[in-house]
């Protein structure tokens, strides 16, 4: 049996890890030495596709076909509030699919975020296969705790397109807590907080852990706040200084902006461990007289913190709200775990300490802990490790329609999976021929505000006066969130049942079409020299420039 890898599919960067022979989770390093891969995918006009750092470098010259943040779109409707926010910000077009889902437009072709994410996942799979020297077909993939069924299923679908069997979708804070070993240690129930400040988003989760059982009590955060904002503040500062001194607006010069972005990011990272760093941008642009601008200055940590003070302040409110939602005080939190590269910043750590009143725990590598936790859980699923089990809960109330517009909850939200509920119903009229049971999910007592999932019709009921015929309804949700509904007439034992899988927006047929299209194109490219089978593969331009292979069919 092949090993199961753990993938942290991030908004800005992704990471892959596996449990090694000594049962220790280990990050898998790409052949170019990168431990994490930017979640960026770009298509050149000629149909070349690039993933990771190479894609990100193209962003400046090919902004409309360089996609990032696909995670913000996956399984979402285009009219959702934060999708609309992202659409305004992103240099590429976000369009509506026929079913209202948010897709992107690349060289005039609509591409689903599932396909974009699939390219990143395929790259992660490739990194793993190269590092392990064996084929990889199964993965545990992490998602934010607040992802709904559609977003989780869409992430699974992306895995399927990438040739990966996603055997479990795992919550990121839970994965991080596993990697930190929060399930070991003292007996008794402990409350922990996972503070995750990544490149593009900020997530705070309050969890309880006891005897290896994790429970997410509340989540919060700011999806519009991340390390990129810190970079942007530094960039803005340099842009302003250049303008003040040379009267040149470099925001109109793509190459200059690209270099500026990289320099600022490097400087920001350096300031995690040093008190000051150099910003050096020789020949950044030409001034009004055509003379080169050589920008160089020292940036101190203190100054950088001043520039980004407002960003730090935005961290507090979501934490307090999450604590309130969980019904606990900051003092009840026994451990705060740091995740995400930005948490390396001393100022961020100080902010966390101020909010929670205790020093946070620092992992060896906050960029990798989520992937490491995913790998640890992959080990549990493959039977290699056995010190934890994770409990997922149902995100919504599940119930059925009663009367004309009533909603009767059978499985309340936050029920641990797997779960089963049973209810008895009686016929309402004499010699009733059939019953039809409408299954809904949602939190509202008004039926109309909830989402209909399906219908079970049980026919050929035995005759009898109203109330004499009894129908038993059993509703189950398994660990993979697959809902089963069975209606059974008790006298005759006649049954009708229904299985509902969450939908991520793409139908199974569409997914298979994408995979087949890829396979067809691949038959053309597989004759390319082996050296070309890396990040970038040239394929003949077709009417669909969207789906391009970048590795061998396994």
């Amino acid at each position: 049996m092949t090993r199961i890898i753990g993938i942290d599919l991030g908004t800005t960067t992704s990471c892959v890890a596996v449990l090694d022979d000594k049962q220790v989770p280990r990050t898998l390093v790409a052949s170019d030495g990168e431990r994490t891969t930017p979640s960026w995918v770009s298509w050149s006009p000629a149909g070349e596709i690039a993933v990771g750092t190479r894609a990100r470098r193209q962003a400046v010259t090919n902004p409309s076909a360089t996609i990032y943040g696909a995670k913000r779109l996956i399984g979402r409707k285009v009219n959702a509030e934060d999708v609309a926010w992202f659409a305004k910000l992103a240099p590429f077009r976000i369009v509506a699919a026929p079913n209202g889902d948010a897709w992107v437009r690349v060289h005039g072709q609509p591409v689903s975020p599932q396909e974009v994410a699939a390219h990143v996942l395929r790259r992660m799979r490739q990194v793993a296969e190269e590092a392990l020297g064996e084929p990889v077909t199964r993965a545990v993939v992490t998602v934010p705790a607040y992802f709904d069924d559609a977003q989780r299923q869409a992430t699974r679908d992306a895995g399927q397109i990438a040739g990966l069997d996603v055997i479990r979708i795992l919550n990121e804070p839970t994965a991080a807590a596993l990697a930190y070993g929060a399930h070991r240690g003292a007996d008794g129930r402990r409350i922990i907080a996972v503070f995750d400040l990544g490149g593009g988003t900020f997530d705070i989760s309050i969890m309880s852990v006891e005897h290896g059982i994790f429970e997410v009590l509340a989540t919060g955060g700011d999806t519009a706040l991340g390390g990129d904002d810190w970079d942007r503040r530094l960039q803005e500062r340099v842009v302003d200084e250049v303008f003040d001194k040379y009267r040149v607006d470099i925001t109109g010069i793509p190459i200059a902006m690209s270099r500026l972005r990289e320099v600022c990011e490097t400087a920001k990272k350096a300031l995690s461990s040093t008190a000051e760093t150099q910003l050096a941008l020789p020949f950044l642009a030409n001034d009004q007289h055509g003379a080169p601008i050589n920008y160089e200055r020292t940036l101190t940590r203190l100054e950088a913190e001043q520039l980004t003070k407002e960003l730090l302040e935005r961290l507090e409110a979501p934490c307090l709200r999450a604590l309130a939602d969980a019904g606990i005080r900051a003092g009840d939190v026994e451990d705060v775990l740091l995740v995400g590269g930005m948490t390396r910043w001393p100022a961020v750590q100080a902010t966390v300490e101020r909010i929670f009143g205790r020093k946070p725990s620092k992992g060896a590598n906050p960029d990798e802990v989520v992937a490491l936790g995913a790998a640890a859980y992959a080990g549990i699923l493959s039977g290699e490790a056995d010190d934890a089990a994770l409990l997922d809960v149902t995100p919504h109330d599940l119930g059925i329609k009663v009367g004309d517009s009533g909603f009767s909850v059978m499985i309340p939200r936050n029920s641990m999976l797997p779960v089963r509920a049973r209810k008895l119903f009686a016929t309402t009229s004499t010699d009733q021929k059939f019953v039809s049971i409408d299954v809904y999910q949602g939190e509202s007592t008004e039926l109309g505000k909830n989402r209909k999932l399906g219908q079970v019709v049980l026919e050929d009921l035995p005759p009898g006066p109203a109330g004499s015929v009894r129908v038993e309804l059993i509703m189950t949700v398994d660990v993979e969130s697959i809902l089963g509904v069975t209606a059974r007439e008790l006298k005759t034992g006649k049954e009708a049942s229904l299985t509902i899988r969450p939908s991520g927006g793409l139908s199974q047929r569409e997914i298979v079409e994408i995979i087949n299209r890829r396979r067809q194109e691949h038959s053309v490219t597989s004759r390319l020299p082996p050296g070309m089978v890396g990040n970038i593969v040239r394929v003949p331009t077709r009417e669909q420039a969207a789906v391009l292979p970048d590795d061998d069919e396994k």
Binding site: M1, G188, H211, G383, L390, M416, P418, V419, V479
Partner: protein, 434 residues
């Protein structure tokens, strides 16, 4: 024709024979018996299958076909009712226990060769056995009250409940079964997990626990005892007075059983023979003559005991928990005896229970106590099959006998663990060289 079912007695003289009967006949639901006369098709039959350990398993079925066959001889084909999970578990665990006991002994070469060839099949079989173990465990958990499901004492605290839930979750969460091929395994694990989770929910806080205790008729939690399976102090117990039965002798009391104990019709059967005529395994199975049967039925004490605690469970025992506490019959004596059991003074305990049962044949708790102690003795002697049957019998006599319920659940849990371990080893072996 009001006569009771035809009674047939089969005795397996070796475990191998049992294995053959089990795999070839029982698991496919039919059986060929050589017979000099051929009773009417559709006649009900009851088969007492005696195992080499002298314990008896009851099977039910009916005559399906008259067979006149040169090779097989004249006889009847029996259609057996599906084996209850409990029975399957009993047989399998007996066979498994026998295999482990004889572990060191060299097995015959052909069997070994078959095993090497099997490989994949071996894993599949181990999965099947794990499925049977989980089925048995799920069934035994369904009969327990929430405290017993979590293997807790009634005084359990919030922390105890969460701790037990956590430990059991780690063992039975379907994710723990994700690596196996069979989806039935995950289904069963989910089933057990749901039972565990429901128990946890019912006991999550003190208010909920006192409600459950009230339903069970337990007034005050006793002094704290260590939670899991082998408590050191006396367990609170409920004694159920037998349902309205005429005071008879214990051995005859269950009216439903009387029919079954009518002397069998004097039909004579020969031993079932191997249809292919190849080997001797079945041929040596003996069918008891009526006189033998009577002798067996009255001779060893445990057979008599078993009859009083019929394998077909009376209605009272099917309830998950008694609806309300019944008047206490055994009183202080019972508690003292229970204490003796807890202290491991089995001989004294059984003597006490016997005396109590003699004094008052209606004292179910005493009669169940006898079975319980016999079961614990069998367990000490590593006769797991006997032990399981004894505990089952104790529960059938007195469904509220917690000690028996605990022991049984514990044995089944252990069986599951062993099967899981075996399967993991087999899978490891298979994966190893690749």
């Amino acid at each position: 024709m009001a006569a009771g079912p035809l009674s047939i007695k089969l005795r397996c003289t070796s475990w191998q024979q049992l294995a053959t009967i089990y795999r070839r006949d029982l698991s496919r639901g039919s059986m060929f018996l050589k017979a000099s006369s051929q009773p009417e098709i559709g006649t009900a039959v009851r088969i007492d299958l005696e195992l080499p350990s002298a314990t008896v398993i009851e099977l039910a079925g009916k005559i399906a076909q008259h067979v006149v066959d040169a090779q097989r001889g004249t006889g009847v084909e029996l259609a057996l009712e599906p084996l209850p999970t409990k029975t399957i578990w009993l047989i399998e665990s007996a066979l498994a226990a026998e295999n482990t006991v004889r572990g060191g002994a060299p097995r015959d070469a052909s069997a070994q060769a078959a095993e090497v060839l099997a490989d994949g099949g071996e894993v599949a079989q181990a999965e099947d056995e794990l499925i049977a173990a989980l089925e048995a465990e799920a069934e035994s958990l369904k009969r327990l009250n929430p405290f017993l499901v979590l293997a807790l004492g009634y005084e359990a605290s919030d922390g105890d409940v969460r701790g037990a839930f956590g430990e059991l979750t780690k063992r039975y969460h379907p994710d723990r079964f994700a690596r196996y091929q069979s989806s039935r395994l995950r289904q069963l694990a989910a089933e057990i997990f749901i039972l565990i989770r429901d128990a946890y929910r019912k006991l999550a806080d003190e208010t909920a626990r006192s409600q459950v205790r009230a339903q069970l008729g337990i007034k005050q939690p006793r002094a704290k005892t260590p939670p899991p399976v082998r408590p050191t102090g006396p367990m609170p117990r409920i004694i159920v007075v037998p349902p309205k039965e005429p005071p008879k002798e214990a051995a005859k009391e269950a009216p439903k059983e009387t029919k079954a104990e009518e002397p069998p019709r004097p039909t004579q059967y020969d031993a079932p023979t191997n249809p292919s005529g190849k080997s001797a395994a079945i041929a040596s199975t003996q069918l008891a003559r009526p006189e033998e049967l009577l002798a067996v039925a009255s001779a060893p004490a445990h057979v008599v005991d078993r009859k009083s605690g019929p394998v077909r469970r009376p209605q009272a025992a099917t309830a998950v928990m008694p609806a309300q506490p019944m008047p206490v019959a055994a009183g202080e004596d019972g508690n003292n005896l229970d204490a003796l059991v807890d202290q491991g003074k089995l001989d004294e305990a059984i003597a006490g229970y016997r005396a109590a049962a003699k004094k008052n044949p209606q004292d179910r708790s005493a009669r169940a106590g006898i079975e319980l102690v016999e079961g614990m003795r069998a367990l000490a002697a590593r006769d797991r099959l006997e032990a399981a049957q004894r505990f089952e019998a104790a529960l059938e006599i007195d469904p509220s006998n917690e000690r028996a319920a605990r022991e049984l659940a514990d044995m089944r849990r252990q069986a599951t663990n062993e099967r899981k371990g075996l399967l993991s080893r087999l899978m490891g072996k298979k994966e190893g060289p690749t």
